[in-house]
């Protein structure tokens, strides 16, 4: 076992996903299969390969500090589930 049902539950909670017990079982076994496959990949000797973060070798994609037109308040709020005046309205998280 690479990952326990409890760990799956913890990660699901952090991602705000609500899983039933059966779902947790299913995902635990699926994730374990994936992680076991990683073991096979780990057998490859990569000692002289530098770790990479992207599949492409491009670096330094930069832009100049030049303003572009913004959406403006009305368009920014157009798809908001709830709004109040110029603001997005949300349930309070911390009291």
């Amino acid at each position: 076992m690479k990952i326990s049902k409890e760990e799956v539950g913890h990660v699901a909670h952090l991602a705000r996903l609500n899983f039933s017990e059966e779902e947790k079982e299913t995902y635990t076994s699926q994730l374990n299969e994936i992680l076991m496959y990683m073991d096979i990949l780990n057998k490859i000797d990569t000692s002289d390969v530098a770790p990479m973060t992207h599949a492409i070798s491009l670096t330094n994609a930069l832009r100049d500090d030049v303003k572009r037109k913004s959406l403006g308040t009305d368009r920014a709020l157009a798809n908001a589930p709830e709004e109040a005046g110029d603001f997005f309205k949300v349930p309070r998280v911390i009291d």
């Binding site: 909670h13 992207h54 930069l62 572009r68 403006g72 920014a76 109040a84 005046g85 110029d86 349930p91």
Partner: protein
């Protein structure tokens, strides 16, 4: 038992770019809520953030000014957590390949010098702003600040008192402002500080459990919060209790910190490389290019002012509080050739008028050239130091050259001995009673005669010559 505080500080500084870190929206403070937003900074699906070059260059300036090693390889990572000020559900930050590491700044503490280590400096985006409803369980979200560029500066746990913490903060603040990469406004949140503080028995190496303090929006409050927290933790330990690792909020009104509940698990950020942002590679040539943009820093400037101009360290401190003021002073000092008098005028009347009118140095109606000319006119005896105050006021109000004001108002100093003798004679003739008293031994009346003469000349008489004439006449 004797306890020793161990303090480390995390500073977030907003960078003075025109646009946000990953999109072209304006960073301007105080605009209509949610007006400076676009699909990138409000986190709509399918958009592509692109890094602002100026953010990297400003961050590099701070790294160099604090003697950090700049890493060639930089990557961006997603820091995942859910909070309504963060529309994407993650903050783009740097994690295992930050911009810079292993620096330091020197601070002055009780006349001595102490070196505070800097662990790392990295770039990240700011979050939006929440306003909580006072009656209902609701919050209102303004995303104008989401995506504004920040650098986070993390210190080593090198500070041992709230005073050292405040000194370190002031030092970072003045460097950022001198580099012209941050406006340093703590009230508007351009410069923010979180503090980690723990206690350990004196002499022990191992650190105690720390609390993280947030919500201090001034230097004074950082110091007060640290002071409060040290007393609180000592109280806990002395009663045989244990300090809990937690985040505590500073309450300015009550002057205490209190625990912020229910955020413990939020520290599981699951960082991973942001697939939308390619690596950043910083070449030696780029570093060398940015090095040429680093100005003389305040501490070095202070030292130079004391050595070069012979002014007291206190004066040098006042004159270097901003780069603009220091430049103004240096220009005046060089043009008039009298750095000490220049320092008195810049620190005195000039700063007083600036503050009174809430103006920046660059907005002053009195330019360095004009102030230097005025000082020369005092030096060569054209006007007295007292009249100069009047001249300065007129210069401030009209923006005119001192020479013109002196001529127009007839403020030129009377230094002609013959002319002054006549005035003194008149004063003495008008005060026979006082002369009698003076000659009978009431010597403090000498000042009275000087005053009367100055009054008769509307303050224009050269006081030294008046003194000489009076001494001569009264001893006759």
């Amino acid at each position: 038992m004797d306890y020793e505080p161990v303090i480390g500080l995390e500073v977030h500084a907003q960078l003075l770019t025109d646009t946000k870190i990953f999109c072209g929206c304006s960073t301007k403070f105080g605009e209509e809520p949610n007006s400076n937003t676009c699909p990138i900074c409000i986190g709509l699906p399918g958009v592509l953030p692109v890094l602002n070059r100026k953010v990297v260059e400003y961050a590099m300036r701070m790294a160099m000014a604090t003697h950090c090693r700049i890493n060639e390889r930089n990557t961006f990572a997603r820091k995942n957590y859910f909070y309504p000020d963060l529309p994407k559900g993650y903050q783009i930050s740097q994690y295992d390949h930050p911009l810079a590491e292993m620096g330091y700044v020197d601070v002055e503490i009780n006349g001595g010098k102490k070196r505070i280590g800097i662990t790392r400096i990295h770039m990240e985006e700011d979050a939006g702003k929440l306003i909580h409803d006072e009656e209902q369980p609701l919050s209102y979200v303004d995303l104008n600040r989401a995506g504004v560029p920040l650098i986070e500066i993390v210190s080593e746990p090198d500070m041992r008192s709230p005073e050292e913490g405040a000194a370190y903060l002031r030092r970072l603040h003045e460097i950022l402002v001198y580099l012209e990469i941050c406006d340093g406004n703590m009230e508007e949140g351009s410069f923010r500080c979180d503090a980690n503080v723990s206690l350990r028995p004196k002499g022990r190496e191992k650190f105690g459990t720390r609390a993280e303090l947030k919500n201090m929006n001034s230097f004074r409050n950082v110091q007060r919060a640290l002071e409060y927290e040290i007393v609180r933790q000592r109280g806990v330990l002395e009663k045989g209790g244990v300090v809990v690792q937690e985040t505590r909020l500073w309450d300015d009104y009550q002057g205490i910190t209190h625990s912020m509940r229910g955020k413990e698990e939020a520290h599981d950020y699951r960082y991973f490389p942001d697939p939308d942002l390619v690596d950043l590679s910083i070449s030696k040539a780029w570093i060398e290019e940015i090095a040429t943009t680093i100005p003389e820093l305040p501490m070095e400037k202070r030292k130079r002012f004391v050595g070069e101009y012979g002014i007291p360290p206190y004066d040098a401190g006042v004159l270097t509080t901003s780069r603009a003021l220091a430049d103004f002073y240096e220009k005046v000092a060089e043009l008039c050739g009298n750095p000490k008098i220049a320092s008195n005028w810049v620190m005195g009347d000039f700063l007083a008028y600036l503050n009174e009118n809430k103006l920046e140095v660059s907005e002053s109606p009195v330019k360095p050239e004009a102030l230097a000319d005025m000082i020369n006119l005092i030096d060569n005896g054209t006007i007295s130091g007292k009249i100069a105050k009047e001249v300065f006021e007129a210069m401030w109000k009209s923006g005119k050259h001192p020479q013109d004001i002196i001529e127009k108002k007839g403020l030129k100093q009377m230094a002609d001995a013959g002319e002054l003798e006549k005035v003194v004679d008149d004063v003495l003739t008008a005060n026979p009673k006082q002369i009698k008293q003076y000659k009978a031994g009431k010597e403090q009346l000498f000042g009275y005669f000087v005053g009367q003469t100055m009054k008769a000349t509307e303050g224009k008489a050269n006081p030294q010559i008046v003194n000489d004439i009076l001494k001569k006449k009264l001893s006759e």
